[in-house]
Amino acid sequence: MIKIDNVTMKYPNGTVALKDVSFQIKEGEFAFIIGHSGAGKSTLLKLMLKEENPTEGEIFINGKNFSKLKKRQIPQLRRSIGIVFQDFRLLPDRTVFENVAFAMRITEASHKKIKKQVPLALTLVGLGRKAKAFPTELSGGEQQRVGLARALINNPALLIADEPTGNLDPINSAEIMKLLEEINANGTTVVVITHEKNIVNDMKKRVIELDAGAVIRDEEEGKYKNEDTDI
């Protein structure tokens, strides 16, 4: 599904955010990417969306080589991936409903399908009653969940979530993670970038840990940290 091959990412200002990173995530897998603040997690997401291009190395998603992807093909690629952004990225002048529906509209879905599925997705993330609100009228956690609903709505083959519970209380977080697990059970590959120790420890899934841009750990059924450094 995802193949990151010796990827190095150096930003124009000189910051090296990723150093020779390589890993693969197979179809149907559930993986956490963890690491300190600034370790390069979000950079990895940007690369997988072709929001940025790696300085070195190759990225493959579904066997497609990113460096060979034409500009016209990028929208298609992004539509096939559901993404929850760390900074939400909601359209401020559209309602919650329209924000989620937008991901369907770009796939030219029918009105009927949109009218049926969007409320379902909103209910799934606990925002059934906020459909008509605008993003500025939502709390931080609510905005984050709108982002999640938008990422889920097209039943993507791959779902990548950057800190999907960063603004959520434990109960909401647990519910969201259960939801992601269900989605994964239905065949979707799920990658979660997070720093919530409890979640990682509870779920016992694969853990890829980055530190200062390098992969320092890649374990099946990992924990947030080795016991000794646990705080």
């Binding site: 969306l49 929001e51 929208p75 298609q76 690629l77 992004r78 539509r79 096939s80 991936i81 993404i83 952004f85 990225r89 909601l90 359209l91 401020p92 002048d93 937008f102 991901a103 509209r105 770009i106 030219e108 029918s110 009105h111 938008r150």
Partner: protein, 302 residues
């Protein structure tokens, strides 16, 4: 793009006009004001142009026959026929000896006309006052008149003719130049306004692209928004100018008449409305569409 997607996206464009009220009002205002400046000068220049043309039409050539020929001489008839057959002749009026005498006495000599007392009009020739269709080949036409038998002299002050021609072409070129400058200025202002309104929504454009929207999907609402704003703005401008013009045309024409300037007259608004409307709405709509398309393209590269 499917029909329903197109109609959704087009609807978004209309909705954006309403949603981004501040920006829409400003854009429309900018279109309206800059095209209003263009329109005012369009009106002024069209009028100057039309009046120069009517002055050109007023310009006359005097054809003097042999003074020995009298009013009803068949040779005079022959000359008249030949003048009227010339394709460049608009109209031709025969002047009798007596009329010429009166003109000399009261219009040329005026208070000094006592010198003509006791003189007969016999020494003056029969003449024809000829108006031309096309002044720019006037010299050639005058030469043709001169070669008609029994025509003694053709009065065509070449300098005046050339001056009128030159003035007319100056005004014509001036109109084109100023009209062009103003149209460019209007385009500059409109397209930059759109650029700023698009810039203010740069983040939204990026978000749409990150979620996987195609360029056409992102761009089309902006293009429709630009078109709507261009059309509405220019229509407002057209209406304001049209209304103002119609309110003042009467006053100005009266003024011109009382000032004795009968050869100058403002055109009726209906005579210029169609061209003006097309120019203005055309500029508005085209600049709106192209301005949006270009402004958005810049932010699509993510």
């Amino acid at each position: 793009m499917k029909i329903r997607t197109f109609s959704y996206v087009a609807g978004q464009g209309l909705r954006n006009v309403y949603k981004n009220k501040l920006m829409s009002v400003i854009s429309m205002g900018m279109v309206a004001v800059s095209l209003m400046v263009f329109g005012i000068f369009f009106v002024i220049l069209v009028n100057i142009n039309a009046n120069v043309n009517s002055i050109k039409k007023d310009y006359q050539i005097q054809v003097y026959c042999d003074a020995s020929l009298t009013y009803n001489d068949p040779l005079i008839g022959e000359i008249e026929k030949q003048i009227k057959d010339n394709p460049n002749v608009e109209s031709c009026k025969k002047i009798s000896k007596e009329e010429a005498f009166q003109v000399l006495k009261y219009e040329m000599l005026k208070d000094d006309s006592t010198i003509l007392d006791n003189m007969s009009n016999a020494f003056l020739p029969i003449s024809f006052t000829v108006k031309l269709k096309n002044l720019s080949i006037g010299v050639q036409t005058a030469n043709e008149f001169e070669s008609i038998p029994n025509v003694k002299r053709v009065n065509y002050p070449q300098k005046v003719m050339e001056a009128i021609n030159a003035t007319a072409s100056w005004i014509y070129m001036g109109s084109l130049l100023i009209g062009g400058i103003l149209a460019l200025a209007a385009m500059f202002i409109i397209s930059n306004t759109i650029r700023l309104t698009v810039f203010a929504r740069k983040r939204d454009i990026n978000i749409m692209k990150y979620v996987g929207a195609s360029n056409a999907f992102v761009r089309l609402p902006f293009i429709i928004e630009g078109m709507v704003m261009g059309i509405l703005g220019s229509a407002i401008s057209f209406l304001v100018i049209g209304y103002s013009y119609m309110s003042i045309i009467g006053t100005i024409n009266n003024q011109l008449t009382t000032m004795g300037i009968v050869s100058l007259k403002l055109l009726d608004f209906t005579e210029i409305a169609a061209v003006m409307f097309l120019c203005m709405v055309g500029i508005g709509a085209v600049v709106g569409v192209i301005g949006s398309a270009i402004s958005v393209r810049k932010h699509l590269e993510v």
